[in-house]
Subunit: 667 residues, 2 copies
């Protein structure tokens, strides 16, 4: 029976003081968390929570309306975990009180505009889900941070109520949420409370999804509607038939009841082949799925829950489904930044290798969802391919979701921009800003794992940790400037000398490293599935020094990725680079970076809170000789040009301009 071999080391056992992440976490704690509270207040969310939503009030909770507040409680709870703060705790408790007061006598928690029509509570799980996980995750984090059970009890009462309504038992609805999320939250709640019903309910949701007769068909008919989900109505066909000129119209979906904005436009490339129920991954039972489809956030939350349920129930079939989906998503549908879901149309997946750069949707929440999933997969078996993806997303496509000052946010994370894209102060659909906030403040959760036999380092992040290994508490102290350089010094601090393995991840991009234990070069260890394992009797103060050489190289994409052919991306260790107009006195699209270009690096402490800038010997087309012509025969003339590139996560923190990750190259 499979299970997760590893256990993550919890945030509360980890401190972070390394130069890359500590400032990001500090800004998150000191600026982003207060900023978002202020926004919740200003946008009427907190008032709405206080008084209950009524028609005509400013803020409409819509479908996931209180989700942001739950995420805020979760993030703020993490923040007081890593740095106690009585005022913040009081603020959290204030919200918790409001939430508790909003709970209905039967345990139901309002959270959508259907609340004013209580009889409609269970009429449309597809679109107006009564099933949301944010409350549960907030409750777990609040309880773990404070020991207070108030919110945990609200969450349990809510789930207990849900459990009376849905499930496989006769008389219950065989429904499941249109937007996944509660499944993984139920596993968290189960782990904290020990209540097995919660894990069972999660498994029910996972397994019921996509079964026939299709629940969303049934509930639609009960509402007197046609089963065909009207939110998937594709005008494209209709227009094409009506006018005979479909070829020059762009497809779009009208999605009025998603409430996120009236319309979604499709990138030119993205033809809406999608079968409607693929949107929420209910097109077939999850065990039969082998391609990541539909809304990318929904997808990653589901896949995370599938991994959790597989582990909790020792379910190999489910784990195999996870692996199939993982391979499809990470080997055919993932941007080099770790962003996923190229299409605005469905905020999600399209075809394999369809990864347009300028129109990339690559929602911040989807990247975060991929971190969640990767982290769960990693615990099954310590395999670097999961950690590699987790690291790729963290340092690139997720971190790009928030500005360096912590108060502006990307909903979408394109890999090329004409300068018309900027982080916003807020979004009407307030999912991404709280989500990136809770991820960054809880980064400590992702650094280490432990098992009976091993202490495991997944990420090189300076700080300390306290692990349970070999029956005792083992302290680790890590000193590193990673990813700016590749040296990491780990001091091992067991309570008493003990034999166990110390596993250190060697990223897939790393081709050269050296290792010393107590100043002695080790014999040539080889990484197994991405990890070195050093087994010995560890004594307090043993010192391991790992030197990963961090190369700058040019990556290319599989030739099936049509938008990246003829292009390279600069990567330096885990960081993907981009070229911004502001650093270069020509428009980035005009730059050609030969495949054998000389590339140099320098750490610039004043630039973008301190980054390693990469410079290279590039070329640009010369237009001096064009003399007013628009077209001409003959060879193009190129002149030498020094290109400057910065880490992708830090783009769009200065003046507006063109940006691109994929740079033209020679061939």
């Amino acid at each position: 029976m499979i299970k997760k071999e590893l256990t993550p080391v919890h945030l509360s056992k980890v401190t972070i003081d390394g130069p890359f992440w500590a400032p990001r976490i500090k800004i998150n704690r000191e600026r982003t968390i207060p900023y978002e509270y202020k926004i919740f207040k200003e946008t009427g969310r907190i008032d709405s929570l206080k008084s209950g939503w009524k028609p005509g009030t400013d803020f409409e909770p819509r479908y996931f309306g209180y989700g942001g507040i739950y995420s805020w409680i979760e993030a703020a709870s993490y923040s007081i975990t890593i740095q106690p703060d009585a005022r913040r705790e009081a603020l959290i408790d204030g919200l918790v009180k409001l939430i508790a007061e909003r709970q209905q006598p039967d345990g139901y928690m309002p959270g959508s505009h259907k609340d004013v029509e209580p009889e409609k509570r269970w009429t449309s799980l597809r679109d107006h889900s009564a099933l949301f996980g944010g409350l549960l995750e907030a409750a777990v984090a609040h309880f773990q941070a404070t020991g207070k059970r108030t919110l945990l009890e609200v969450a349990c009462r809510f789930v207990d109520y849900v459990d009376t309504v849905v499930g496989s038992e006769p008389g219950k609805k065989r429904g499941y949420p249109g937007h996944e999320g509660i499944e993984l939250a139920l596993i968290k709640l189960y782990k904290v409370t020990g209540e097995r019903r919660y894990a069972n309910l999660s498994k029910f949701f996972v397994d019921e999804r996509g079964q026939q007769p299709h629940y969303y068909d049934l509930e639609a008919r009960e509402r007197g509607e046609e089963p065909a989900p009207f939110w998937a109505a594709c005008y494209y066909d209709r227009e094409a038939k009506a006018t005979g000129r479909g070829e020059d119209l762009q497809p779009f979906w009208e999605a009025p009841n998603l409430g996120i904005g009236a319309y979604f436009w499709a990138p030119v490339r993205t033809v809406p082949y999608e079968i409607p129920y693929e949107y929420n991954q209910s097109h077939k039972p999850v065990r039969e799925q082998d391609r990541a489809v539909g809304h990318a956030v929904r997808a990653t939350y589901l896949y995370s829950a599938m991994a959790d349920v597989a582990a909790e129930f020792g379910d190999e079939e489910l784990r195999a489904a996870c692996d199939r989906l993982w391979n499809n998503l990470t080997l055919k549908q993932m941007y080099i930044t770790g962003g996923i879901g190229p299409s605005k149309l469905n905020e999600g997946f399209t075809q394999d290798y369809d990864l347009p750069n300028e129109t990339a949707y690559a929602e911040t929440c989807a990247a975060i969802g991929l971190v969640f999933w990767a982290h769960r997969m990693l615990q099954f078996e310590c395999d670097g391919r999961y950690a590699d993806v987790m690291e790729r997303v963290l340092y690139n496509g997720a971190l790009s979701g928030v500005s360096l000052d912590g108060e502006k946010f990307n909903y979408v994370n394109p890999l090329a921009s004409l300068g018309n894209h900027h982080r916003q102060e807020w979004f009407d659909c307030a999912c991404c800003p709280p989500n990136i906030m809770r991820l960054i403040v809880s980064l400590g959760n992702y650094v280490y794992s432990q098992s009976e036999t091993d202490a495991i380092v997944h990420l090189y992040v300076g700080g300390t940790a306290s692990l349970r290994v070999a029956g005792q508490t083992v302290g680790l102290r890590m000193d590193t400037r990673y990813p700016w350089d590749g040296k990491a010094v780990i001091t091992v601090e067991p309570e008493t000398p003990a034999s166990f393995g110390l596993k250190l991840r060697i990223p897939a991009w790393c081709t050269e490293f050296s290792l010393k234990v107590n100043e002695m070069e080790t014999e040539s260890l080889k990484p197994q599935r991405g990890y070195l394992r050093i087994e010995r009797e560890w004594k307090d103060g043993d010192r391991v020094e790992l030197n990963i050489s961090i190369p700058i190289n040019l990556a290319s994409a599989h030739p099936k990725v049509r938008d990246d052919v003829g292009c390279v991306a600069i990567q330096r260790g885990p960081l993907i680079y981009c070229i911004e107009q502001v650093d270069n006195n020509v428009l980035p699209y005009r730059i050609v970076l030969p495949q054998d270009a000389k590339l140099t690096e320098s750490f610039e402490p004043e630039l973008l809170d301190g980054v390693v800038m990469v410079r290279g010997d590039a070329l640009v087309e010369d237009d001096a000789s064009w003399d007013g012509k628009l077209y001409r025969a003959g060879k193009q003339e190129l002149r030498p040009f020094k290109v400057s590139a910065i880490p992708y996560y830090a783009w769009d923190n200065r003046e507006a301009g063109e940006m691109r990750v994929w740079i033209r190259t020679d061939s």
Copy 2:
């Protein structure tokens, strides 16, 4: 005082039998013209003409509803000019009779849904123009073809009526059409009738456009509307403000009253900077304009009229405006195919050098409008730069508008396709099919010009012509397989021996040619402004043999064209080539054509009604070594590949697939 130095040789004096155009004209005459008549019948247009449009009838004439029928009469008249056909003439006369019966007692001609509210006839020239030129052009063609005055008289009565309503005299409306077209048609009508008022009215329309107070402001206020044209309402700003997430929404215009389709989508690149009145070129007086803006068909029809009015009135200032607009349009806003107007948003122009390929709108009608304009500019002074553009458009971006079988049509003419673009059998806005039909059948109009001193050959098209030069009629007989090869033999047949110049165009792409007169090599003549001039005493049977070498070369675009950097286009003489998936066993986007690639040609008589296919030594990225990876470091591997290219005009005549004109190259 400027005037047009040259006079075009009229269609009725020209025959065409060369292997390139004769088959196209034959298919046009035998298939396209009957096909379109059938469609007009089937879509209710002819019934509507018969009975008058009433609410609820199938066909709504909308704004330019009878335009197609007028174009059909014009094209059919040309066809009986070049090949008499009594049945067709009877069909034309039948339509003429219906049209005459529809004329109102005051001379007004119905043609829009406003007809059911006659009092609204003059309330919105901006959108529902009562001012249309198709009738006039049809009338002139019909009169010239048949000598019958019926339609000409209808047209004159209509214009006489219009002339009582609009104009600069006190009490008249200072209005002008929202869709230009009548201006150039009035000049045609003037030339046939000698009625100077018609030329004056044309000049009034040209000069009044864009004057202040703005007529469209005034008429909007009279309708009780705000002057801001609601058809230019850009949802982009509104959405961006409302949701704070404008950066990931595509801009679009709602254009319900254009009747062409409910919505226009903007390509991602095309931000709607446009000031609304630029849409119909009324943003400022035409003499002050120096950039081609707005709806491209409207623009070229206006510019054509400006050239006509400048010539008729000896107006140098207007001519200078034409030159400025010409330089902007052809040197900064024209596709290599001669297509113009990149954006779906306004069916027109955007920014200089904004020439996206996949989303190119490049409407067939706009290409045709550019032919009209180029042809008019060419008559001012025999300058090859006008003829070069005229030829470029004719052989590429215009001819691509119709299928080889003559019964399918392109509204838009992209320079790259993923295989989702196909010629259609019809369009609700039926402008392009009749327009390309009338252009092809009247190709004879574009081949020659004459002046007192010169016989001029603009295009190499096999056939005969009868010119007026040096006070007598001069016959020319041209034998050529151009553009398949570059030899043209011209036999000169004056009535009596006479001295005059024979001017032969040397296209700008031609770097090598030879010339024999009566088998004798001439001394090395140099082209002046694109034309060789051979002056001598010509005798009946004098034989001139021009050999233009037709190179295949690779063109590049100015580096400011962001969508063409790193790419080349294959051109062979006047023809632009494209690569279609059907001829190549890899997707065209994967092909790299080195700048020094060896290119060979062969005429394939069975392929696409006979074309010269170009083959080249190219490369493609090899994916055999990728082994399931999505990204990797290191050099890309390329393997040799033989690419096959066909002329762009012939694309999409076989099975669906990817196409591109601009091919990746090395650097």
